[in-house]
Symmetry: C2
Amino acid sequence: MNNSPIFILVQPQLAENIGMAARAMLNCGIYEMRLVSPRESHLSEKALAASSGADIILQNARIFSSTEQAIADCDYIYATTARRRGMIKPVCTARFAATEIFSHPHRKCGILFGPERTGLHNDDVCLANSIIEIPLNPEHCSLNLSQAVLLTGYEWYQQAVSAPQQHFSLGKTAFAEKEKTLLFLKTLEDKLNVSGIFKQPEKRKRMLINLRNIFTRTDITEQELNTLYGVINHLNIPSHSSKD
Amino acid sequence: MNNSPIFILVQPQLAENIGMAARAMLNCGIYEMRLVSPRESHLSEKALAASSGADIILQNARIFSSTEQAIADCDYIYATTARRRGMIKPVCTARFAATEIFSHPHRKCGILFGPERTGLHNDDVCLANSIIEIPLNPEHCSLNLSQAVLLTGYEWYQQAVSAPQQHFSLGKTAFAEKEKTLLFLKTLEDKLNVSGIFKQPEKRKRMLINLRNIFTRTDITEQELNTLYGVINHLNIPSHSSKD
């Protein structure tokens, strides 16, 4: 995808975490991984297994011996940190960074992620234009490496796809036209009338309003209406006359 | 936190995943976990180790033998799914669900997460009012359980805290007033004038504009200005006369 940031893992310790980070990147449509002096191999069996099918990211990952070299061809760098550093630098959320990346389509962005145990060293943080701090429960904000990668990538992907926030899954059916829903309600009311359930006029009115609210509020479909007809036709509703 | 949803893990298989889900919940300030027929114990050593300090969530987790029982006291249920089900139901993003939860402060919400291998069964999905589908790369959208928990919880937390999207980290210093920045630029320009670098008037103008842009664009602080004065005072800039 265009304008996708480069994810740069600085001195990651465990192959498994590199693999899980690759998986999270692929989840978010981010394909370019760089590794600065990883302790374990990103092509080890552990890494490949943990990537759950994101081999392509690991196989294309490039290795660098310093953060300076890894960011050399980038135009703008974010550093992800969990704790305050006293650095003189802008600090933003992952969501803000994602919108910023999108509003600068010609800027090649890299995002730095630090080692599992310590996070990024200040020597690396000060190479960045800006810091990303993900807003999380301040009493328990430590994320593992792949989760930091996931949340940062997720925010980018939300910008990239601009998916509709809500839709209605209809399967193979369609919404019932109001006429059909009202006809069903009429059939139901007729059945209930005959059953003698509406002996008190006040209760009748309240019950009918409730029934209408239930079935009009619920975006009922043709398939569901058929099921409802099946139910009320099958039920042997006693007729008023037979009860008296 | 008020109005926090209840996270309900349906038939989770691995204790480690329960622990990691607890960790992700605590990251997002969500404290109430329910478990439907977990295969392994949520209080096992594996679960506690994987929770990385989120013991409190595991210790307070309640166990149920059916999804129906686990949701009995809730008012509204979301089911998280990765793949389309052909269900007749509204489908929304985790972000939309988070805003919905917040716009219904008196509604007790539960969110269902399925077993690792299969996701939720349709028997459970149809108990939900609405489906959550997290927008991710359609070619690789499978998340592990704790990552689905993390992204869903994360979106809720972003609503809950409404953190500022950007700020500037100043450490112990303050922004330099413009007067001070301009005085520094004047000092630098005087030094450069004396050095004879500005032999061509056109080049002089362009260089001065570039220097002013660099130092005015950058939100310079008092601490940084002091460093810059230290640098230009220390550099032994050759004077024009000595060069000629």
